[in-house]
């Protein structure tokens, strides 16, 4: 699964730390999600989409291998 969290953060002018604080996780977790080393739970994905005020499908996308 791939995501465009980095782009969404740039649009909203948020650092990883700020996004992490908003959704109650560590900065390292946000970094792991952005670099596709960790796939977030549904709850976390929905929280992220709420911060970016967009649909979760606009942030996360399934890949062929999924």
């Amino acid at each position: 699964m791939k995501n465009n969290i980095k782009i969404q953060r740039a649009i909203k002018d948020l650092t990883q730390e700020e996004l992490a604080n908003k959704i109650g996780v560590s900065r390292q977790t946000i970094n792991s999600i952005e670099t596709n080393r960790y796939i977030p739970s549904t709850l976390l994905a929905l929280k992220i989409s709420e911060v970016f005020e967009t649909n979760v499908n606009n942030i996360f996308e399934l890949e062929e291998s999924d």
């Binding site: 109650g24 996780v25 390292q28 977790t29 970094n31 792991s32 960790y38 977030p40 976390l44």
Partner: protein
């Protein structure tokens, strides 16, 4: 406290200081017993030291860090699983190692030593996985 922190029922961070305190006092007790400042039977001193050291390690293992989220929970569970597998492998492989070096097919490691090594393995795995997340 978020839902993940509530679900885990981990101890508050203050218990880390308590654990280090117990560890320090245990090591001090052991040293004083070895140099015979404290007149305690060697086996009793060893049992007391091992038990309190295990309590300290357990407290460290079940105390939450500053931020506990779903990724740290996953890392914890992986580290626990890895230390359990290590424990089983240790019990199975040690007699063969003893056979090679001593010629006797025995497991002569105590339960306390095994548990302490499992805890240390758990902490090592936590450290490695947290660094590479």
């Amino acid at each position: 406290m978020n839902k993940t922190q509530k679900d885990l029922n981990l101890l508050p961070p203050v218990f880390k200081k308590i654990a280090y305190g117990i560890m320090f006092l245990t090591i001090l007790f052991a040293i004083l017993s070895i140099v015979k400042v404290l007149a305690i039977d060697k086996h009793i001193a060893k049992t007391i030291s091992m038990s309190f050291f295990l309590i300290a390690l357990l407290l460290l293992a079940i105390t939450r860090s500053k931020i506990e989220d779903e990724l740290t929970l996953r890392i914890r569970l992986k580290a626990f699983a890895a230390s359990f597998i290590y424990g089983v492998a240790f019990v199975i492989i040690t007699p063969f190692i003893n056979l090679l070096f001593d010629g006797s097919f025995l497991l002569d490691v105590g339960v306390e030593q095994l548990l302490i090594s499992m805890f240390l393995f758990y902490f090592m795995m936590m450290f490695i996985m947290k660094r590479s997340r």
